[in-house]
């Protein structure tokens, strides 16, 4: 008995000392990241490709912007203007149909190949012919696989000519060209990696235009080049040593996949990452007073909103739609749930876009909402469901609205779900109420105007999937207005048209706009020069340095 006890004691002691020894020998050093590498914690699970002709996610747009150059980019200091990137200058024909771009001299790709107009034309061709998710941005100018070689063509080595089908507002065309799908790829490099394809009725071409190779490689002329993308793990970009402009200060940037805000905060505080990109309000609050970390922020082009399905008879009543707009406690939500990550915004165009409108007519007013409901013959309230994806801040906002709506007699049953699951239901118009967000496809008012105010065909089998359609909001007049604004060549008039559309949407739509997203990054104090742009494809890292 005694002996067994001593054996036990010895063994336990051994285990304990062994563990303590392992842990104590090398205590973790602070700020473990190398001096020439920036490590960002970032939720990257949405990335499925690195090919700019296929990728359509915010995170890929951001990385793409650091790898690829575009013909034009919009001006970060004044987002209503565009400036040349690869293009030195451009002219527009009098009929508004032909855009002629002149490239800057002596440009090179990361491979060392020169950048020519031929590369630009081929980049456009592959976007259109591959016909992946972002193809519609160029496709809306009447460019198809059959006519792309004429509509987007090179004239000599430094002149690129684009022909559009209707006289659109020039700002609209240029804004679209400034989106990441128009990235210029290195034709000479990519053709070596093209895979032959057997044409079919769905895909008429005999090559994949390097799509398979570009999924995991890059062929750009940007400040960085892609070193590696490992799905759900990391994206690593290295400095482009042959960059034609001023070179990046850091040798490497690592975007490390981390999904949870809490995980990012822990790693940031311990110095295992330099930048945390997806911090939520609770963690931000804790970071605000930190001595190790600065917070950097910029408003982004994403708005959060609630959609009321007009196929539900009750929600289709105009008074009920208005009543809901008075049943959101905007102030309290602004001060708590979205503090630091958003600001209350009630119109569909985010601040910073041409035609932005800062009207905020609604605030929590239960009495008014009750009066409206009584007018609609629903004095005793009613029950309705709300599809909410499992993520902050939408879950919190949904629960808050559930409380305020209850005060007016409306019982909201919250149906939680995974992101893709609620979205699938929403896209099939099977929801009552949906709470979600909408980010601009490209930095032009038309993107959101089309989403919120255009519905060309309200039938269930419709080809369009705008937000207005998803909520079965049949508005032919607004659709026409949206289309007209697209054609307005006069900047001031175009602005006024969008303001008008927004006022109508405020008054009559089944959309309750909640807030505009502010992107916040927690940045360790030894990182210099990290700025967030007004959109994700302007979050450049070339100027970032570490001390």
């Amino acid at each position: 008995m005694k002996l067994s006890k001593t054996i036990m004691m010895q063994r336990k002691w051994l285990v304990a000392t062994a563990l303590a020894g392992i842990l104590a020998t090398a205590p973790m050093a602070m700020a473990a990241t190398p001096i020439d590498t920036l490590v960002q914690g970032y939720a990257l699970d949405e990335i499925i490709t690195m090919d700019p002709a296929e990728a359509f996610e915010l995170s890929t747009a951001e990385i793409s912007a650091n790898i690829y150059d575009l013909l034009v980019r919009f001006d970060v200091s004044d987002t209503s203007k565009v400036r040349g990137d690869l293009a030195q200058s451009w002219t527009i024909s009098d009929d508004g149909l032909v855009y002629t771009f002149k490239l800057k001299p002596r440009l090179t790709f990361a491979s060392g190949n020169p950048v020519t107009a031929e590369d630009v034309a081929w980049s456009f061709e592959r976007v259109i012919k591959l016909d992946k998710a972002p193809a519609f941005i160029l496709g809306q100018f009447g460019i198809t696989g059959d006519n792309v070689t004429e509509k987007a063509r090179a004239e000599g080595s430094d002149t690129f000519v684009l022909t559009v089908d209707r006289p659109y507002a020039p700002s609209f065309v240029l804004n679209c060209l400034a989106s990441s799908s128009s990235a210029v790829v290195d034709k000479k490099l990519v053709v070596d990696h093209v895979i032959p394809v057997v044409p079919s009725t769905d895909y008429k071409w005999d090559s994949d235009f390097g799509n398979d190779w570009l999924k995991t490689h890059s062929a750009g002329s940007g400040v960085f080049k892609l070193r590696e993308w490992r799905a759900n793990e990391a994206v690593v970009i290295d400095r482009n040593e042959g960059y034609h402009g001023s070179k990046a200060k850091l040798a490497r940037v690592v975007y490390r996949h981390m999904k949870e805000s809490a995980a990012q905060r822990l790693s940031l505080e311990s110095g295992d990452i330099d930048v945390a990109r997806n911090l939520e309000p609770n963690d931000l609050e804790a970071m605000a007073t930190s001595e190790l970390v600065d917070l950097v922020e910029a408003p982004k082009g994403t708005v959060f909103y609630i959609g009321l399905n007009q196929n539900n008879q009750r929600l289709a009543t105009p008074e009920v739609r208005q009543a809901f707009k008075y049943l959101v406690d905007y102030d309290a939500i602004g001060q708590t749930l979205i503090k630091g990550v958003g600001r209350v915004h009630q119109t569909f165009l985010p601040a910073g876009v041409l035609g932005e409108l800062n009207d905020r007519p609604f605030k929590l007013d239960v009495a008014k909402a009750k009066a409206l409901l009584e007018k609609a013959g629903l004095k005793d309230g009613f029950s309705v469901t709300m599809d909410v994806r499992n993520a902050q801040p939408v879950t919190g906002i949904a629960e808050s609205i559930q409380q305020t709506a209850a005060a007016a007699g409306i019982t909201i049953e919250i149906i939680p779900g995974d992101d893709k699951q609620t979205l699938t239901k929403y896209r099939a118009r099977n929801h009552d109420i949906y709470i979600g967000q909408w980010g601009q496809d490209y930095f032009d008012p038309n993107s959101n105007a089309q989403a919120f105010a255009s519905n060309t065909d309200n039938s269930d089998r419709s080809k369009n999937s705008t937000l207005a359609w998803r909520n079965a909001w049949d508005v032919s007049e607004l659709t026409a207005k949206t289309d007209a604004a697209l054609m307005e060549t006069d900047g001031a008039k175009r602005r006024a048209m969008y303001e008008d559309i927004q006022r109508t949407v405020l008054e009559t739509s089944p959309f309750i706009l909640l807030f505009q997203q502010i992107e916040v990054a927690g940045v360790r104090k030894n990182v210099r020069g990290l700025k967030l742009g007004p959109s994700f494809d302007t979050n450049f890292v070339g100027n970032v340095a570490k001390e």
Binding site: A332, T336, L337, E399, Q402, Q403, A406, P416, D418, Q421
Partner: protein, 251 residues
């Protein structure tokens, strides 16, 4: 009949009488002696008191809760530490945590009881049928059981919640679907041991149908060990429900 007797002797003596004068008295006496044994085990008493307080909390949630569990004060009382007003503090939506826990006990009990009610009988029926009938019925039923057993439990539950849609009822259903195979295995093993017993043979000779044999004579035998197992699993059920909630698919 026994009223007169009871008035002359003490209640305890009547309960512990060695010569019960009625079935009723014998049964009560049995319960009483079990209770005495139970009482002498300190751990068992601790467990019992925890369960009773949980039951009380669930039954009288309306009276015990100091606030509404759903409605909070978002702008005024958010993330407060414990105080006289809010005994356990408030959460990030300004709701009273104590009240939420009190109401939460209802949900917990609901989940546990429902899972037990769904999973145990299914497992019992499958197991006893397979064990009693044998042959290809046994082979098929046990193959199905194996398939479900070879699945990782939480992932299977996740899959079901994902396909049924999140929510407490579906979480219950998903957990039940993943927990019946274990019960089927136990019931089958037990059935195999009693299947050739004389009393089963006797019933069969008297012309009882297979369903009668299984339901009336085998199921009761297997029930007691199953109840023990289900009780042991209850903690696991609660944890699985919590896990589903953690990955965002619970309630």
């Amino acid at each position: 009949m026994t009223i007169v007797d009871r008035s002359t002797i003490s209640r305890r003596e009547w309960l512990s009488s060695e010569k019960p004068s009625s079935r009723w008295q014998a049964r009560l006496g049995h319960v009483y002696s079990t209770w005495l044994r139970f009482q002498s085990n300190r751990l068992a008493m601790v467990g019992l008191s925890i369960i009773i307080s949980l039951l009380i909390a669930a039954a009288f949630a309306d009276l015990l809760a100091t606030h509404s569990p759903l409605i909070g004060d978002l702008s005024g009382a958010r993330l407060q530490p414990p105080s006289l007003q809010h005994w356990f503090g408030t959460d990030d939506l300004g709701r009273d945590i104590f009240s939420r826990i009190v109401y939460g006990s209802r949900l917990t009990l609901f989940v546990v009881v429902l899972v037990a009610i769904i999973a145990a009988p299914v497992g019992l029926l499958v197991g006893t049928t397979a064990g009693y009938l044998g042959g290809w019925v046994d082979a098929i039923l046990m193959r199905i059981t194996d398939v479900f057993l070879a699945f990782p439990q939480l992932i299977l539950a996740l899959a079901f919640v994902a396909s049924l849609g999140p929510g407490i009822e579906n979480a219950v259903l998903a957990i039940a679907i993943t927990s019946w195979p274990a019960y089927a295995r136990i019931a089958r093993a037990e059935t195999l041991t009693v299947r050739n017993a004389d009393y089963i043979g006797a019933v069969e000779l008297m012309g009882a149908s297979p369903s009668r044999v299984v339901l009336r004579h085998i199921v009761p035998i297997c029930t007691s060990s199953l109840i023990v197992r289900v009780t042991l699993d209850m903690a696991g059920i609660i944890l699985t429900a919590a896990g589903l909630g953690f990955v965002g698919l619970g309630a």
